[in-house]
Subunit: 269 residues, 2 copies
């Protein structure tokens, strides 16, 4: 397994990110601390200086295992499941842009909050149909670019649409296309999974990316999750991908990054 | 310790209640299952047939350890911390009514979601001041009625105003009046406390009521919380009050109540 941490590429209202400003300084620190990669949270790749970012991660010898996309939901209300067809189309176009950006790094593109929610007035069935149609369109494009998607279940308070790994697996089966895996996030799992370890084992053929955050969404080590046992379980299923810290910048950004690397090193990741 | 479970005394939008309808049937079942008490969730005591409820719990030999008051926030928007003085006044009046009702049973009155939130445009300081003023007024009245209040920290997604036991203790100290204790709810603690056990120990002089729900808010036994260790910790601090299940009615109400009593019995509560 390899070590990564999430940073935002721009200012954001969404606070579950270790770093929000000073991209170069942050990438430098992440590299110096010994992370193998940096996960980028991107609202809209078209607003980014892509060349600058590509050069930066190259300069500091970091990989980019995944691109987070939830800011487009949080800040613009874009989603695959909006009853408004124009909004759904904009969400698909946005993910197409994310796939283009991801192709520079062979990153996975995360399908988390951008799924949206089952809105009042819409049925669960049509919400699923809209989302499946949009994701299939994205997956067609991703195939050309050799990029994969990864579906992130999130806890009940953030969405009513795919909360547990089991629901994620069922949904991936309904999409019925290759190149979309499952993202296991320990913070969400602590709230949603009957057994964190049992759910990982059941999802062994689907997990393509992992987020670590402790029970309180602080860096691993600040809460009460049993990370040694979580890591043992990931080893048991043969997971060899990235463990990426998506955490609150508390007590401050640097301390959060330092606690993360300390814990991941202790876990021999 | 004694065993209790929450029921709603009327229809509600708030679903974290084991029973929502058929008060008599529910009280009969709760008694038959072997609970010592029933915690009542009440939106407005003035809409209740109080004599009927008093008679029912007496008939089935149940105690009423606590009265839940959050429905007045969820359904009417009443809170101690609203910038609108009239809303704050209505919240105080509502809790005064709850105290009158509680006095029939010597119940504690729960101050949970009725605190409200730190609203946009209001400072945390004024939010605290309004809430402290309202609670002091309620505590004056409660003293006459020989009723106590209990402050329930709730997780970050439900309010931004007192999430952890530590924040609850600090706030109780600011209120600086006797007769208000702390409610430890395992579902909220799983999200907010760095250590569930450590936080219980630190709160030992304050805890006057306990809610049990598993990590997924189902009945204890359906999730991954370590209830044997939680019970050991409660014994360690000498807690002798009620353990009351505030849970989702899943997979259905009866199964949830049965799983609760099974788990509480296994724990020798």
């Amino acid at each position: 397994m390899k070590k990564s941490i999430v940073i935002s590429t721009q200012q954001t209202k969404f606070s579950a990110l270790a770093f929000q400003e000073g991209l170069k300084e942050n990438i430098k620190l992440i590299s110096a601390l010994g992370f193998d990669g940096v996960e980028l949270a991107v609202r809209d790749p078209q607003n980014l200086n892509k060349e600058n970012i590509i050069q930066l991660v190259d300069e500091y010898s970091l990989e980019v295992p995944a691109i987070g996309t939830g800011q487009a939901w949080g800040e613009e209300g874009l989603s695959f499941s909006d009853p408004n067809e124009i909004v759904r189309k904009m969400a698909v176009e946005r993910i197409i842009e994310q796939i283009k950006f991801a192709s520079y790094f062979s990153s996975q593109v995360i399908i988390g909050l951008i799924r949206g929610v089952v809105k009042e007035g819409a049925t669960r069935e049509e919400t699923e149909e809209w989302t499946i149609a949009g994701l299939r369109e994205c997956l067609e494009f991703a195939k050309e670019k050799n990029v994969k998607l990864t579906l992130e279940p999130v806890n009940r308070y953030e969405s009513n649409f795919i909360n547990s790994l089991e629901e994620g697996i069922e949904f991936i089966k309904k999409i019925n296309r290759p190149d979309i895996g499952l993202l296991a996030d320990t913070f969400h799992m602590n709230i949603e999974e009957p057994s964190i370890y049992g759910s990982i084992i059941k999802a062994k053929d689907f997990i393509t990316h992992v987020h670590f955050a402790d029970s309180n969404r602080w860096a691993p080590g600040y809460g009460h999750l049993d990370f040694p046992k979580i890591v043992d379980t990931l080893k048991e299923i043969g997971y060899q991908g990235y463990v990426s810290a998506e955490i609150l910048p508390l007590p401050n950004q640097t301390a959060a990054a330092e606690m993360t690397i300390k814990t991941l090193n202790l876990l021999n990741i």
